[in-house]
Symmetry: C3
Subunit: 451 residues, 3 copies
């Protein structure tokens, strides 16, 4: 009577999972569908299954198509290691390395987007189903999806492994879905980590998604989802967290490290929260609200921006200048309350030259409430470090820890453009630090010490 | 030497788990107790066991009685899908559905409360033990408990499946307990999802508990517990999160969606926190502090109330009117800081007619501190949608996203009743929006834009 | 083709895991290393493995040495129960107890620090590796590490089991590391629960770490790590959470209960967050920032201090007096925003006699921003309870819940020492409650009710 609903990819009769785990999983899914045919038998009938991936290296040559609910795919190890450091380490040094690839229960993605550039074609896992109900409760847990190499940057790019481009996606959910869950995953060196269209009550939680072009993208529309407790960091040309047309999204307690053209990019998102996150970025526009984001809460976050300290990446940025706004707000009735924002940057790197950087910039909408934010701006003078390998760690930590001998940097803590009005700005900068038309907005300056 | 402490319900020699998993698990527990008899043998002796439930449909005809510590029951899938949408879909449409029942590692609860209405009798899992020590470290993980049908509403109820009543409970913990843990569960169509008496250091985390009458109820007394990172939504006649006589409770980062007579109901709770949650409700009283709740913190939450947009449920509400207070506070020395509160409702639905809705209402106690809250009130004119099935998704998301063309709704952002005094209200509403006796309370108005 | 990368300690051919699980795991690790030898074979080669520990009692006589990446060690139960209550229960009462030891997948640590006092020698799990890359993605999940007994306190200590000293550590990570993960663990009666040097992107999440001398210690340096969603409580002579020289650390949503000389102790930590935690302590100095902690955010936390209510522990404290500051801040540009702080203590226990307790004390640095904090100070008159056993629960909860009949206690809500300047203190105390040189700091008093 032992259950047939638990599968192990290494014990399945068809295919070789180390050569093509995609074909093996598709074969297993076909078996589940062949066995579970009656949608209403004894008040059940299609409970789904779990597919287990033991630790090991598994090439994926065939895309997995998931079109059944209640399928759980789980491994025993998220297996992250930095491929970015590795690909910037001289070959002779690598000879002494203990290991050079990620590990755990690891999928090696050998496919990529098709000639037409269809992202879905380059996804290791493609979740899609027509008809009703929406596909539900697909779960991904505790395994690694590794895109292996970045290949972009064009013919003249001498450093394609730093391009964050390879036409590969880890998990691509194309059709409306309910109660999906991704936990404990490790996603690495994928142009797109997780892309989900039309999500309802999605949970992306406790994952390690780093060294991907973009990490988490919620597209189409959606509601009542959670992106929480993750360690995340995208490339200079992607977003760590992107969402469009979502309501009731909770972005909570993530530790978002660089890079990421934006750490968080919301487009047309309303009535959602960004709370309790630690967010570190190298560029302006680390948080962007585009296309009339409204009634969102941004609170209790720690934002920090400094300059890229690692030599292999200092040539790259997101193209935005320091007048764009570190937090760039389009929309109405948003709340930015009780955040700490630190900026530390050598004045010679400020763009345009001699500009006074803008921290929070409200460019449209009305009725935004910006209160009790503490903005700390300093100049730093740390030099980029050209150590390519694990020195990256001490380089980065050293940069983070260097708060001695900092000088104050003059910034505009809040700028409200004239297209925006009826905003309320409280205790988020002194008279000199806030640029605002007081005839159409409300303003109470942070009191000046000793004044 | 392979361990005997790992069980699989589909491999146990006694009983048929698909017909009655309750009898099978009780038989396994009896085996554990027969094998683990010495409480102090070699500095151990009663380590407990794990019982595994593979994906599948398992009827439960016999209640599981858990009276041993360190028992873990785990599955491989939380298996949620919306039964509420399904039961409001015409039968002819259902014929084309891929599946109609929840799935994963799924318990089908065939028992219900006894004639005397004893809730414990209707629990699938009943945790109870007399004597010392308190039962400890019972764990429930990654499976589904499905109550199958709601049956209440009385003889004349033509829609019993929308009643949220069936006398069934998922997990009922009756005796004092320590360090219990529920993670990754899916609870569906139960009158009571999880009910725990006398909890100490309880963790209810990362679960999906929806379409239940009440979702999480902490009764009796308790301390130092966590309700965090869950997706939760109760019925119009129950509570999403209920706690009484608890201290040091942390309600954190939950995404609480409708319905729920109250989303969070605290009675006699002190020195506890509600932080970083996203909470959406259809009724006044979405947060209630009753019976002298004191010294609690409510911060960084996003509260949103609008009107039920889904036709099958528009006939129901919790009976409270808009003067009750969206947040209704009895008690002293509580803190409400840095919250965003949005309300959007067509004026014709306001009760009583032409009333000015009250958002935060303090009805008793003293010394409450209400600061830096942003309250956004608008009228909406969206029509209920009578599409019964998955259109529910676009209906709901459409309602959430509709922030264009909203008009301002006049509300009382904070009302302090005369029974309450020595409260401090800062930056949470303008002079016109706050109703307060300034001779016995402190008040600083949010500055008005352009004033 | 079944995977060899999944091990079960009870099925391994060498050694007896119940007598010495350390030797068994080391033998398994040797097997992994013998099988996985090529660091770059087919774009993989060293994926690591998972070692499973079923529920059971496993003595550890040999330290486990982990020097390979991607090793996951997992059990099926965190197994916490209070050993502290048990060791303070009379032997004749214990005769009737159902069980007296922790359980789950339980390691019994039989080793301890060596004669030289080297902590690493007393660790059950010792993670260390030289060379590159840093050891990555080692995972510990869902098992219990029990130090069994405290033995310290000196020759004349009549209650060694209350000493929190035994020279044992649960997990000791000695070398630089990346993406380590500890989830769902139970750590009990260890002098040091988890000690990690030089962490990068570490996640310590969802664990139960209590009745340990110190619970979590991040030493050396580190960045971008998470300590979140844990239940934690250290001894009177250790720290619940300790970090030094970390940047970008996120301490989030933990429920930190007593004791702990400090609940959170940061030394030289910068640009980090303490948000959304519930923290309960019995002593002053429950949060300490030492050695120039800068640009950190402390927000949306609930702090509560009262006096030890449990007779067996009332003789102990951390030696600090009430002028030290409940939150003691060294450093610059930190933010303390939107916190609730409750203190309730009988005046006869205030030290020095008749002192006016200081809640937030800034002793050095500049530019700290302290806004919208609500401080509630009351006297309590609850008597210590000498019930040693499970009455501890009702004793503790009773103390927590006793908010009736409290009288106001006069305190200094914020004191800024003259060594510190350019701080901004807003809405965190009245004129009478804040001690500050207004010529070098900014201050806006919380308005007084009825004034």
């Amino acid at each position: 009577m032992a259950s047939k609903n638990r599968y192990d990819v290494t014990e399945w009769h068809a295919g070789n999972p180390h050569q093509d785990i995609g074909a093996v999983i598709n074969s297993i899914i076909a078996d589940i569908k062949a066995r579970q045919t009656d949608p209403d038998k004894g008040e059940g009938g299609k409970p789904g299954a779990v597919i287990y991936i033991p630790p090991g290296d598994y090439h994926l040559a065939t895309q997995v198509i998931i079109d059944i609910s209640y399928l759980r795919i789980e491994g025993s190890g998220h297996g992250f290691t930095s491929s970015s450091i590795r690909f910037n380490t001289p070959a002779d040094e690598l000879k002494t390395w203990h290991e050079v690839w990620p590990g755990g229960s690891r999928i090696l993605v050998d496919i990529c987007a098709d000639a037409a550039g269809d992202e879905a074609a380059g996804a290791a896992f493609h979740v899609r189903r027509n008809g009703n109900p929406r596909i539900s409760s697909v779960e991904f847990a505790n395994f690694c999806i590794d895109g292996l190499h970045f290949t972009g940057g064009g013919a003249h790019d001498t450093e394609p492994e730093n391009s964050y481009v390879n036409g590969k996606t880890g998990i691509h959910v194309a059709s409306a879905n309910d109660s999906l869950r991704m936990t404990g995953m490790g996603l690495i060196y994928l142009e797109h980590g997780v892309t989900v269209y039309d999500a309802d009550a999605l949970a992306i939680e406790g994952n390690f998604i780093a060294e991907c072009g973009s990490c988490i993208e919620l597209r189409g529309m959606g509601q009542a989802s959670r992106i929480a407790n993750n360690l995340i960091g995208a490339g200079y040309n992607g977003h760590s967290i992107y969402a469009e047309n979502h309501g009731g999204l909770l972005v909570s307690a993530n530790n978002v490290f660089p890079r990421g053209a934006s750490s968080v990019y919301f487009s047309g998102v309303v009535r959602s929260s960004i709370t309790g996150n630690r967010i570190h970025s190298f560029y302006p526009g680390m948080l962007i609200f585009a296309d009339n984001c409204s009634e969102n809460l941004v609170s209790s976050n720690h934002f920090f921006r400094d300059r890229e300290p690692w030599a292999p990446m200092t040539a790259h940025d997101n193209g935005l200048d320091d007048l764009f706004g570190l937090l760039h707000i389009n929309g109405s009735n948003n709340s930015l309350i009780a955040n700490h924002i630190s900026v530390s940057i050598d004045t010679r790197y400020i763009k345009p030259n001699d500009a006074r950087p803008v921290i929070i910039r409200v460019v449209s909408g009305k009725g935004n409430y910006i209160a009790s934010n503490h903005i700390v701006a300093t100049t730093e003078s740390s030099e980029p470090d050209d150590a390519p390998n694990s020195a990256c760690f001490s380089t980065q930590v050293g940069a983070l820890l260097s708060t001695d001998n900092l000088n104050t940097l003059e910034v505009t803590t809040v700028a409200v453009e004239k297209e925006s009005f009826q905003n309320i700005i409280l205790d988020s900068g002194s008279d000199d630090q806030v640029v605002i038309d007081r005839s159409v907005n409300a303003f109470r300056a942070t009191p000046l010490p000793g004044a």
